[in-house]
Symmetry: C2
Subunit: 333 residues, 2 copies
């Protein structure tokens, strides 16, 4: 009943050569006489032999698979990165083990361990709360780890990002230039480095440059969900804000729709600018102005960087910063 598997040994026997030779032709090793190669190839074809990657992995200590830790595939920002990662991975013959972490530290550590147990050749980590424990695990990992679209205050790991501070500063400046004085900063958890260590810094910088004093009443820390954004309207208007910088597109859509539903005109009475430039920005009405990021490329470059690391190639720059932009759509004046 069980389907029979044909092994390299079977091929060797049938082709009247050694396993070593079969292995060579399978792996494209040039040190095989053309006639022999042809013979082996024929047998392989006839027997429909397929190399067992697990055995290969054990023997060669390479699995050609990399682990990818993602907060949530369902989030457009991250899934865009993931797509870039997978495409480049495939290009380099790697496969991806994808696991959702919900940015839950415990889960992340656990996942990291099972990835390492599975002997992945490398790891791409997305998530903005690199705890000490996590950092320890990264360090002990013999597989290289690169962060994609995620920052670690310690900058201990190679990573691919944009310049969040500058991007947010520019976005906020834009809002200021439109005459807004009370600009809300709405983001996810302040425990995340990207929020407290980058975005907020950019926000403060823009305010300072414009001579506006920082008021933490205008900082809204919430969940990265549509609902959370939507229910922020009362607080936002109560605080007297006339504009908002938002750290996530779905959240921003919520904020905007919440405002609109409450009768607030966007952008007339309230401007909003968001951060990730996912498809969402174009789907909602008004379309959302946003910081633009090369999402796909962040993933792609991260994976490319990882291939180099896995290959022990020397890389000039461990942390690569990709360019960002500002896309004015209709949620700002």
């Amino acid at each position: 009943m069980e389907k029979q598997t044909v092994t390299i040994y079977d091929v060797a026997r049938e082709a009247a050569v050694s396993m070593a030779t079969v292995s060579r032709v399978v792996n494209g090793n040039p040190n095989v006489k053309p006639a022999t190669r042809k013979k082996v190839l024929e047998v392989i074809d006839r027997l429909d032999y397929r190399p067992n990657a697990v055995a290969r992995g054990l023997a060669s200590k390479k699995t050609t698979t990399v682990g990818v830790i993602i907060p949530d595939v369902t989030n457009a920002y991250f899934s865009s990165l993931a797509r870039g990662i997978d495409d480049i991975a495939m290009m380099y013959k790697y496969n991806i083990i994808l696991t959702n972490s919900d940015e839950n530290g415990g889960k992340e550590v656990q996942v990291l361990n099972t990835l390492m147990a599975k002997q992945v050749d490398g790891i791409i980590f997305m998530g903005n709360q690199v705890t000490d424990e996590l950092r320890e695990e990264f360090k002990r990992s013999k597989a290289p780890v690169v962060l994609a679209g995620s920052v670690d205050a310690e900058k201990a790991q190679p990573s691919v990002n944009i310049d969040y501070v500058a991007a947010v500063a520019e976005a906020v400046k834009n809002l200021i230039d439109h005459g807004n004085q009370k600009i809300a900063f709405v983001s996810g958890s302040m425990d995340q480095a990207i929020n407290h260590d980058y975005r907020l810094k950019g926000y403060k910088k823009a305010l300072k440059d414009a001579g506006i004093s920082y008021d933490d009443k205008l900082v809204f820390e919430t969940d990265y969900t549509y609902k959370a954004g939507q229910s922020l309207e009362p607080a936002l208007t109560a605080a007297g804000a006339t504009a908002a910088f938002v750290g996530d597109d779905e959240l921003a859509a919520g904020v905007m729709n919440g405002l609109t539903d409450a009768g607030v005109d966007v952008p007339g009475e309230f401007e909003v600018i968001t951060s990730n430039d996912t498809k969402l920005t174009e789907l909602v009405r008004p379309k959302m102005s946003s910081i633009t990021q090369p999402l796909y490329d962040i993933g792609a470059v991260a994976m490319r960087l990882l291939t180099k690391l896995m290959n022990n190639e020397t890389v000039d720059e461990n942390t690569v910063i990709l360019p960002y932009g500002l896309m004015k759509r209709s949620s700002t004046k």
Copy 2:
């Protein structure tokens, strides 16, 4: 330089027992004297031993990883299923190798082969164009394959879905009940079984039940993209349609926004109902009415079914049909 790996042999030596015993405690085999177990556990802890899953996989012929073929992670419909799959997988200690196929037959076959080479214990396939070649590969696979949110006309594989025919028929009937006579059917490629074999059938059924004759001028075959939907407006109005059933949410958002941007009032002058009930439906304005599907559950149930199959448990029903619904929002009257 290379980080030293500690093997089961090291543990055995340090604990003065055999590898077999170490293996037993690692795997929770009860046939170990408590004292021995304790001793081994201590050594494992001291040496920080981590079992090598690849070696384990080779020896046991189980990898505790399943392959997942997805058209595009970036698509909200599929990523929702993927999330359900991963959660259940994790619950059962499996990992997921995720690969994007773009519903490209050649790529799918290739990916399937590398998954099989990697000895995955099972496969979840998403995609609606099961070619003969693909079907052949499924058959030859010793790992069970289940389709999630995807149909195959031949019904050769276990699958979990909703009743697309009935759902679409109901959605279209709803449109008819609102007085629409010319209802557009817009979907992705008609090569996909889900479109020509299910949705279109449901569409026709609803028309027939209402005594409306079918007109293929009202069938719009296009890409599953926002842009494609958006640019459909001229054709839609030219055809005299006053409502549309759309097979994908992003596409539907495009259709709707295209209409709105052209000055057509939705739902006043044109109603649209979509199919997948992803988050998108709530983000756009007007919110889109939709067939509702338990997206997460489809993935979750598919994975659960796969675990049973991998475990050689007998399953009563190979193809499971989950309930659907109709969610009236604001894109229909």
